[in-house]
């Protein structure tokens, strides 16, 4: 099936219903965007992420995800030292020699990201210029791009957004007359990506391209004929960059749970004119499997209240899934940043009783959480154990980012992630 861009049925643009959003400004208990490197460096197999930062950045990377498991991870930190800041050493010369050393040691690297950090942003170290300069020296063997994962500009998953947004301008162009093509945007576990690729293939939409690709040279091309689905909700800047290249967003709910996944796939199917019968035939079995798997956890989760601390921007789609597909009751849904355009569908599906909050004052939020005593709290690693000590069951939010949760085959796993902490409580007698 080959359609031109004009033949694509774009979904009606959905706006966001009016609802109060609590905005507070105090201590934010969130990771910075550098943390995204944890999964991005596994996803893009020939990319290296060089953080230009401080000892704190290096310490974060090794502490936050116990990355010691990797023999030699494809990321590192160029630690700025006193002599760099005092101007005794030229920072750009220093960086050049670090890159030189690194690429000599890792000849298989095809794509190098220079990743800005809080200190490099504050001293206004121009990594864009550095990337251009280094590109001259190392192209075509290695492509060199830059983005900022700094905590002053990004929280947690926004690091992936910044990374992909930096990739977009370097994607190969598609000719204007090329047939319409679907791009799925946002890092997914390889297994999930393969499942989606198969489903689209069976519907006759294809070939579907994924951003990021697993190899630097396989990155999808983009042009006015590109229509894209977001697989992750935190890709605000990436969406903007794709639109600058002429691509068009298919606004959809996010593919979490059976309903979310169906609606997400359906948006693409409708856009590409897949008929109802074909669509239903393709999704029938996996959808049933997903529903069965979710159902297994319903008795443990139905009617239970859930409170989200802001973390990954997945909170709103997750709350939608837990509410609509498992009968849980979201009390507060905190998100570090709320993009009402990208999240319109999921946000509109939240009942009014769910209080949405954006940003954070962690102490005040902890007060609210203690008052409410929800059945389960989704929060970061710094807060989880102290809340458990107070008798509040928690689910670490980072696991929701590091585990494959999207799509039909993972819907049961996703439900289980919430059921397990509650289940554990009932088992322990110590």
């Amino acid at each position: 099936m080959s359609l031109t861009r004009d033949e694509i049925n774009l979904p009606q643009v959905t706006g966001c219903n009016e609802r109060p959003v609590l905005k507070q400004r105090g201590q934010h208990e969130v990771f910075c965007g550098l943390t995204g490197i944890m999964w991005l460096h596994r996803k893009i197999q020939d990319a290296f992420f060089l953080i230009v930062g401080s000892r704190t950045c290096a310490h974060l990377m090794q502490s936050a995800a116990g990355v010691m498991i990797f023999a030699e991870p494809r990321f590192g930190t160029a630690i700025m030292e006193e002599r760099d800041l005092a101007g005794i050493a030229d920072m750009h010369d220093e960086l050049d020699s670090v890159v030189e050393k690194l690429l000599a040691r890792r000849p298989e690297i095809r794509l190098l990201f220079l990743v800005g950090s809080c200190p490099s942003e504050v001293i206004k170290l121009d990594l864009g210029r550095a990337a251009e300069r280094l590109a001259v020296e190392h192209s075509p063997d290695v492509r060199i791009l830059n983005y900022s994962g700094s905590g002053i500009e990004t929280t947690f998953t926004q690091g992936e957004d910044a990374c992909l947004a930096a990739l977009v301008p370097s994607l190969p162009p598609e000719p204007d007359q090329a047939p319409a093509a679907l791009m799925v945007v946002g890092a997914l576990a390889d297994v999930v990506e393969d499942q989606f690729a198969r489903l689209f293939e069976e519907m006759g939409i294809g070939p579907v391209r994924f951003l990021p690709a697993r190899l630097a040279d396989d990155m999808p091309s983009v042009g006015p004929n590109t229509v894209y689905l977001l697989a992750q909700p935190f890709l605000t800047d990436t969406a903007r960059a794709l639109e600058e290249r002429g691509a068009t967003l298919l606004q959809a709910p996010f593919p979490l749970g059976a309903e979310g996944t169906t609606a997400w796939l359906k948006t693409a199917a409708d856009a590409f004119g897949v008929d109802e019968a074909t669509f239903n035939a393709v999704i029938e079995k996996p959808k049933q499997r997903a529903e069965r798997a979710i159902e297994l956890h319903r008795d443990k989760l139905e009617g239970k209240s859930v409170f989200f601390f802001p973390d990954s921007q997945l909170e709103i789609p997750l709350a939608r899934f837990l509410g609509n597909e498992l009968g849980m009751v979201a009390t507060e849904v905190g998100t570090p940043y709320l993009n009402k355009r990208l999240l319109a569908h999921d946000l509109n599906a939240l009942p009014e009783s769910a209080h949405v909050s954006e940003g954070q004052d962690v102490d005040l939020q902890l007060d609210r959480c203690r008052d409410e005593r929800p059945d389960i709290v989704v929060c970061g690693l710094g807060l989880a154990n102290p809340l458990e000590v107070e008798g509040i069951t928690t689910k670490w939010s980072i696991e929701l980012v590091f585990t494959p949760i999207q799509g039909y085959e993972q819907a049961g796993d996703l439900a289980e992630l919430f059921a397990r902490p509650l289940n554990r409580r009932t088992r322990l007698e110590v």
Partner: protein, 518 residues
């Protein structure tokens, strides 16, 4: 600019957090960008502490930078004081906070907070975690301790124990062990700090006759100051191992006027199994085992002594990332006729381990990974810490029980004596070979075997060069235990190279063996 994928120590403000978290009523207001809050998980996840660390971060963002970040700091400090009601506060900046030069110390002085506020200057771009912890505790002691009441004369001797912190390697259990030891000598423990100490306890530091400097990395600066300020001498021996523990007791005896005979009686009263276990004939196989040590200065120096003098191993290499104590480690290394490696680059450590081919590595979690990659047995003896370094059981490193723990720690990773012999004799047994690993370590241990096999294979390819091995010699080489095979290969090739041989036969292999045997 230094390229690193792994750092032995965090930034100095993490050291300050270790002090604030260790104490019961000290709060830390840290001028830091959002994201630096990751450090909380070190305490709540790795150490499994039950409370959030007492740290308030200003978590400024880019949009704040154009505005008034000083105000943000002052608001955070005021809110923290009101909410947490600490007895004292430390204030400072993280690496990024340092760059925006808001001067948290100066700002907090103008605020008229009703509690002592201690400003910290921790240069993030030249100093590291242990230095930060040491400096922070020194500043706390320097500000608070002089305010305490003058020393009251007592009819007993007392001491403070200085140095244990939050997130310390076995500090929790070491403190319990050493408090017991000191009290068994009839000496009163006045204050343990900073671990579990209150600000009020710091006021009482003066009351002790002397200080026990338990961890020089975090306690020596304060002990030196206390000596100067209040004429309190401090101990020099870190009681890790049997001999060091006895030395430590003798030091205490001297400081408190306990006679030599009395001290020896007190020593004898302790039950320690290490000496007998080490002399027991089944330990003969430990003789001369080549051991490599890397970690913080305190643990490396002490553990080298244990390994060499109490276990009968041979220390073949040692080093530290604690640059502040480089001289001490160099001096200790001289005792074993070796040169210490002072570095915070784990790649250098890995290279040295690879070259020395030790039979046992004693190090931090990083060395554990290096050893795993190289297929070498390893025990963890030093920070940086990992969740496994906070065992549920009582497991001190210090004192006599600590020595018992160390015996197990230093023996457990190895293949047992008779098993090792059998491995030599029946190398080709299909279920009893190198790849099977030490049997007492269960199935998990076999994981190390493929790693050793691969590293060995890569070495084979690399080292081929101009020299060729005959099939026969190559096969014979395989019969040598995997942990010394690399060394045997290199020695043989070196030997052949010196003789100008182009081919290595079985004969050459054994010629080389006899040439290099000591």
């Amino acid at each position: 600019m230094q390229l690193t994928v792994w750092t032995y120590e965090g930034p100095p403000h993490v050291g300050a957090m270790r002090i604030a978290t260790a104490m019961t009523d000290l709060h830390y207001v840290l001028h830091a960008p959002q994201g630096d809050t990751y450090a909380d998980l070190l305490f709540t996840m790795i150490e499994r502490r039950k409370k959030r660390p007492p740290v308030t971060y200003t978590t400024f963002q880019a949009r704040d930078l154009g505005g008034d970040t000083s105000q943000l700091f002052m608001d955070a400090a005021r809110d923290a004081q009101e909410r947490f009601q600490p007895a004292a506060m430390i204030v400072g900046a993280s690496c990024t906070g340092e760059l925006i030069q808001d001067d948290p110390g100066g700002l907090s002085k103008t605020m008229g907070l009703p509690i002592p506020v201690i400003p910290l200057e921790l240069p993030s771009y030249s100093k590291k975690e242990n230095w930060g912890a040491s400096e922070t505790f020194y500043q706390v002691a320097r500000t608070i301790a002089p305010q305490g009441p003058d020393k009251v004369e007592a009819d007993y001797k007392s001491c403070n124990i200085i140095g244990p912190t939050a997130l310390g390697f076995r500090h929790r259990d070491d403190v319990r062990e050493i408090v017991g030891l000191i009290e068994s000598m009839g000496i009163h423990v006045n204050v343990v700090a900073p671990l579990d100490a209150s600000v009020h306890d710091i006021l009482r530091l003066k009351q002790a006759d002397f200080n026990v400097c338990l961890y020089p990395e975090t306690g020596l600066t304060t002990c030196t100051w206390l000596k100067r300020q209040f004429r309190q001498p401090h101990t020099k021996t870190v009681p890790i191992g049997v001999n060091a523990t006895i030395d430590f007791m003798r030091e205490l005896a001297e400081l408190t006027g306990i006679s030599d005979e009395e001290c020896e009686t007190l020593v004898q009263e302790n039950e320690v199994r290490l000496p007998w276990y080490s002399r027991s004939i089944d330990s003969t196989y430990l003789t001369g085992k080549r051991v490599y040590l890397f970690g913080d200065a305190t643990h490396v120096i002490a553990m080298a002594r244990v390994a060499q003098k109490e276990m009968g191993y041979q220390v073949v290499g040692m080093g530290t990332y604690s640059r502040e104590f480089a001289r001490d480690v160099r001096e200790a290394a001289e005792l074993y006729g070796i040169e210490a490696l002072i570095t915070d680059d784990y790649l250098e450590v890995e290279e040295q381990v690879q070259n020395l081919q030790p039979e046992l590595v004693l190090g931090s979690q990083m060395e554990r990974h290096i050893a795993k990659r190289l297929g070498l047995p390893c025990a963890v003896i030093s920070a940086p810490v990992h969740v496994q370094d906070f065992p549920a059981r009582y497991s001190p490193q210090m004192g006599f029980e600590g020595a018992n723990v160390l015996f197990d720690t230093l023996v457990h990773p190895l293949t047992m004596g008779l098993e090792e012999h059998l491995l030599h004799m029946f190398r080709d047994d299909f279920e009893f070979n190198d790849a099977a690993g030490p049997s007492h370590l269960g199935h998990g241990s076999s994981k190390t075997a493929p790693a050793s096999a691969t590293s060995d294979e890569t070495q084979e390819k690399v080292s081929n060069g101009p020299l060729t091995w005959t099939m026969e010699a190559e096969k014979e080489l395989k019969k040598i235990p995997f942990f010394v095979r690399g060394k045997a290969r290199r020695n043989t090739e070196k030997f052949a190279g010196e003789l100008g041989l182009a081919e290595i036969t079985m004969e050459t292999l054994y010629e080389a063996k006899s040439h290099f045997s000591r």
